[in-house]
């Protein structure tokens, strides 16, 4: 009969653990919905190694239409205006004329999918920007991605604070609201783009972008990462076509850039900039030597392995 309390204990444990995970999952679902349903405006800071900046955000949801404007408050006035996830204009040096592939509409956060690659858990409570928050941890299940700690607003589910942490528990970047107003709608004039905000030019050649995706594949990708977009653009200075592929696992992202070297003598390299790593490796293809550069918020070893795994399939591609 001694086994009965033990059994109950075991059963209780069995039920408690998934409940915890489910709770975290519910919070992430709420987070996904909050940005589609909740109007707010506020100020946040972004910090990574060597950089600290403050920004304003205005976010309005009216009749199912999501309008958002972001403005950097210190240094140059970087600005972005988005409507329903589509970027309308960007300002200052942010402008680079990039290709926004047609399929690149914002993808919602999918907790079901994230669960495969991260352990989701509610790990406590906190207070951010004068509001009570619940802390959700996303711990990677393998060494190919970083962990997140999200502090979500108890009232609305909005992310008040987000920390990116490497496998040693070192902080790589911090995003944190200092002030948030969810009761008043942002004023219309605050959502109007400033004079310096310029409409973005879609200079990616869509046909060749699709060809890029076909021509290149990776022998190895970290589990869970999928191709989400591909672009082909000519560098305005060098006139060389640079192809790129972007992958994500629902949370972390990396881009692979492929550029012909045209005989340039270049060494392989690796740099780390806050949370972002860039790894370059030369690759011999039928069209000559190419430089494969992986850029993303992933561990350096993983980026390296991806760079070494890129393969060109069709000899006819990227011959421009």
């Amino acid at each position: 009969m001694r086994s009965i309390p033990l059994l109950t204990l075991l059963l209780a444990g069995w039920f408690v653990v998934p409940a915890h995970a489910d709770e975290a999952q519910d919070w992430l679902t709420r987070l996904g919905q909050a940005e589609q349903q909740q109007s707010f405006h506020g100020t946040f800071v972004y910090e990574r190694n060597g950089s600290f900046s403050t920004h304003n955000i205005w976010h309005s949801v009216q009749d199912g239409k999501v309008r958002e404007r972001l403005l950097q408050l210190d240094g140059s006035a970087q600005e972005v205006v988005r409507i329903d996830g589509h970027t309308q204009c960007v300002s200052g040096t942010l402008i680079a004329g990039l290709g926004d592939a047609p399929s690149s509409a914002a993808r919602a956060l999918d907790p079901q999918k994230l669960k495969n690659w991260y352990d989701l858990a509610v790990i406590g409570k906190s207070r951010v920007a004068g509001r009570s928050a619940v802390i959700i941890s996303l711990t990677p299940r393998d060494q190919h991605r970083y962990g997140f700690e999200l502090h979500l607003d108890k009232e609305t589910g909005l992310p008040l604070k987000s920390l990116l942490v490497n496998e040693k528990g070192q902080l790589l970047e911090r995003f944190q609201f200092t002030q948030l107003n969810t009761t008043d709608m942002p004023a219309d004039r605050d959502l109007q783009p400033g004079d310096d905000c310029k409409a973005i030019a879609l200079d990616s050649d869509k046909a060749s972008a699709a060809k890029v995706a076909q021509a290149w594949h990776s022998d190895w990708l970290p589990p869970g990462f999928e191709l989400t977009s591909s672009t082909a653009r000519k560098d305005p200075q060098t006139k060389i076509q640079v192809n790129s592929l972007m992958f994500d696992d629902g949370l972390a992202r990396f881009s692979v850039f492929l550029e012909p070297l045209n005989g340039a003598a270049v060494i392989d390299t690796r740099v780390q900039l806050g949370p972002t790593v860039a790894v370059s490796r030369r690759l011999n293809t039928p069209q000559g030597e190419m430089m494969v550069t992986v850029v993303g918020e992933i561990p350096a070893g993983t980026a390296e392995r991806i760079a070494l795994s890129m393969r060109n399939e069709s000899a006819a591609s990227s011959k421009q």
Partner: protein, 195 residues
């Protein structure tokens, strides 16, 4: 040296409890047949106590010495064994290469982490260099040499200097354009532009 002291030392060596002095004593006495026999007896006794497999009278030291003494120059072996030995060597070197590869890969990762550590260290050191307070007149862009001044990009020659900032920017902006989660990718992109 008394026989008893030596036997005690022998026993200690066998139990792996001998200090350096005792070990030396035993090694010095090991040329002596009697000592070796005592050692063998102890081994047998222990094997019996532990019910271990027992190979009595296996005086390897003597056997090896004898074998070495009348060892002839090895004749050239026939091809068969060498070939299999060769295969073994290949297999072994592959194993070594794989192990080395794994190690290298891990080292890479460690190096990457160290990079992050260095970066954080730099981040911590920087304010001290700047002084206890950042004055209103302090202009951050004045000593910055480029967008990556605070990163690890400095000192990368030529090609990468031109390409990497663009790549980093395109990655950050493309992520920001996707805009799935909050304003984080936008903030990352903006942070690259702060010269």
């Amino acid at each position: 040296m008394s026989r008893e002291a030596l036997q005690e030392s022998l026993s200690a060596v066998m139990d792996n409890e001998a200090d350096e002095l005792e070990l030396r004593r035993v090694l010095n006495a090991f040329d002596d047949v009697e000592t070796r026999e005592t050692w063998a007896r102890y081994q047998i006794a222990r094997a019996v106590m532990h019910k271990d497999l027992l190979l009595p009278r296996l005086d390897i030291a003597a056997a090896v010495s004898a074998a070495l003494a009348d060892e002839a120059v090895p004749a050239k072996a026939s091809r068969g064994p060498w070939r299999s030995l060769g295969r073994l060597a290949v297999a072994a070197s592959v194993t070594v290469a794989v192990l080395a590869g794994v190690r290298l890969f891990n080292q890479d990762e460690i190096a990457g982490v160290e990079l992050a550590q260095q970066s954080t260290a730099q981040g911590l050191v920087a304010p001290q260099v700047k002084g206890p307070a950042v004055l209103a007149g302090y202009n951050e862009s004045s000593d910055a040499t480029g967008p990556m001044a605070n990163g690890v990009l400095q000192g990368q020659p030529g090609w990468h200097d031109q390409r990497l900032p663009g790549y980093l920017r395109q990655h950050a902006q493309q992520a920001a354009l996707k805009g799935t989660e909050s304003a984080l990718p936008y903030a990352r992109a903006a942070s690259l532009e702060n010269r």
